[in-house]
């Protein structure tokens, strides 16, 4: 096969993997409540998994100093003083993996106080893995040709 045709084929495969809509498993949205303890410098639990469309309530409990919880991508946050539980509610309408982090300076390692929220499947990770596979196939074909 001619080089440029091959390149075109790979490019198209890449675009498909990157942008084609993935089948969405439709699960009826639920009400979910999580209690997250925050301490210097970690959340507990630090990984949450929910389904798309779920209505989420996070009860943030700070156990030592004032902490916050800010969710990347959703741009919502809450701040809790120790002892005073703060509540954050939102609807998980965006699918994928989102880090949540502390947005109230709480000491040295504050910028790395991070947790992960996964809504549905981590689509983007699957897509990038797929792209890596296509890339590697492309490289192998090039190796074979030479």
């Amino acid at each position: 096969m001619r080089s440029y045709l091959l390149l075109l084929l790979f490019a198209m495969a890449g675009l498909v993997v990157a942008f084609a809509p993935l089948p969405v498993l439709v699960i009826a949205p639920q009400e979910r409540t999580f209690r997250i303890d925050a301490r210097q410098f970690a959340y507990s639990p630090s990984e949450l998994a929910v389904n798309p469309g779920d209505h989420i309530t996070i009860q943030l409990v700070s156990t030592d100093v004032v902490h916050g919880l800010y969710i990347d991508g959703y741009d919502v946050s809450a701040e809790a003083d120790p002892g005073q539980t703060a509540t954050l509610t939102f609807t998980a309408d965006k699918q994928g993996s989102f880090r949540f982090r502390c947005n109230v300076t709480c000491g040295a390692m504050h910028p790395f106080m991070i947790g992960k929220l996964t809504v549905g499947t981590n689509d983007w990770l699957l897509r990038s893995a797929g792209l890596a596979v296509i890339a590697i196939l492309g490289v192998f074909i090039l190796v074979k040709r030479n």
Partner: protein
């Protein structure tokens, strides 16, 4: 030496001097009060001087986490002291004396130890201020002695029912502030033995007496004070299971002994306000004493220099609401 060389040397040296000098000069000339968690130093400096009538300008910054600043007994709005940022506060004092300033955002189990003093000098314009003796001292109550009630209600006493019952009774003696403050709910319950009410009904009347000595606003204020100052140890449910309860219990194992050499004043889990026997056996004077004086090594802070009298009364009224069902 060529002119360009000379010029470049001057520029380099000048630049370096500026880079070193400017931070040093500005840092030494900026009077900041640093706030740190109590374990690493607390307020620095922690003793300030002021004069009556002269505005005192203060500049605070936090070196680690979010803190707050307020002066006790002044009924001032607290300001936040944020890490890496500077907060300006101007205070003017009417009366001389020693004021206590304190941290208002919980910053660890030793947050309440983060205090300092402002010594205000000057003439006392009206010298009617004589120090008041706390009621528990006047009454001679030993606030460290156990205070269990001999009988407790089966259900949560309802002030609404109590009000209906009290309509047909003369309880003026019991509900007068003097009596109400000096006696525990249990003692008033006993005092009602002269009536022909059932035990449950007597407790309802006690609840009503307690409600009639406070207001909805006072309870709301008390709830607010509880949230800001007490909940971290005593818990949102009042059970003594706040976020620092475990730390306090653990510290109890290795804490200091009391002056008597015994371990009975060691750090311990915070009091449980849902413990009916203890709460109903405690008079307002006793609770006021505990709040004013603190726990003498148990980890309970002393609030005497911080809260005003009204704040303490409001807070105590709220504490009793863990036991009594008040009208909404």
């Amino acid at each position: 030496m060529k002119r360009s060389e000379l010029l470049s040397r001057i520029l380099v040296v000048a630049g370096m001097l500026l880079a070193v000098g400017a931070p040093l000069i500005f840092w030494t000339r900026t009077p900041l009060i640093h706030a740190r968690m109590a374990d690493t130093g607390g307020w620095n400096p922690d003793i300030l001087q002021a004069e009556v009538g002269k505005p005192l300008e203060l500049h605070f910054t936090s070196d680690d986490v979010v803190h707050g600043f307020a002066v006790g007994q002044l009924d001032m709005e607290a300001v936040d002291v944020e890490p890496g940022k500077v907060t300006d506060v101007t205070l003017t004092f009417d009366k001389p004396g020693t004021y206590t300033f304190y941290c208002t955002r919980w910053c660890g189990v030793n947050h309440w130890r983060m205090r300092g003093t402002i010594e205000v000098s000057g003439l006392d314009v009206d010298s009617e201020t004589t120090p008041t003796v706390p009621l528990y001292v006047t009454l001679g109550i030993d606030i460290d002695a156990p205070h269990e009630a001999n009988a407790i209600p089966e259900n949560r006493p309802s002030a609404v029912r109590g009000q209906q019952l009290a309509a047909s009774l003369d309880i003026s003696q019991f509900s007068s502030p003097d009596f109400y403050r000096a006696n525990s709910p249990y003692q008033i319950f006993e005092g009602l033995n002269s009536t022909d009410l059932t035990d449950t009904e007597k407790w309802d009347v006690v609840a009503y007496i307690w409600q009639s000595n406070t207001t909805v606003d006072a309870l709301a204020n008390g709830r607010e004070l509880y949230a800001q100052n007490c909940v971290a140890c005593h818990g949102e449910s009042g059970e003594g299971n706040g976020v620092f309860a475990d730390d306090l219990a653990a510290a109890g194992e290795a804490s200091m002994q009391s002056m008597n050499g015994s371990m009975d004043m060691a750090m311990q889990t915070p009091a449980d306000f849902t413990d009916t026997s203890c709460m109903l056996g405690a008079s307002l004077a006793l609770l006021e004493g505990k709040i004013l004086r603190g726990g003498m090594g148990t980890g309970m802070p002393m609030w005497g220099s911080i809260f005003t009298e009204k704040q303490i009364q409001d807070l105590i009224a709220y504490l009793y609401s863990f036991q009594f069902e008040y009208q909404r």
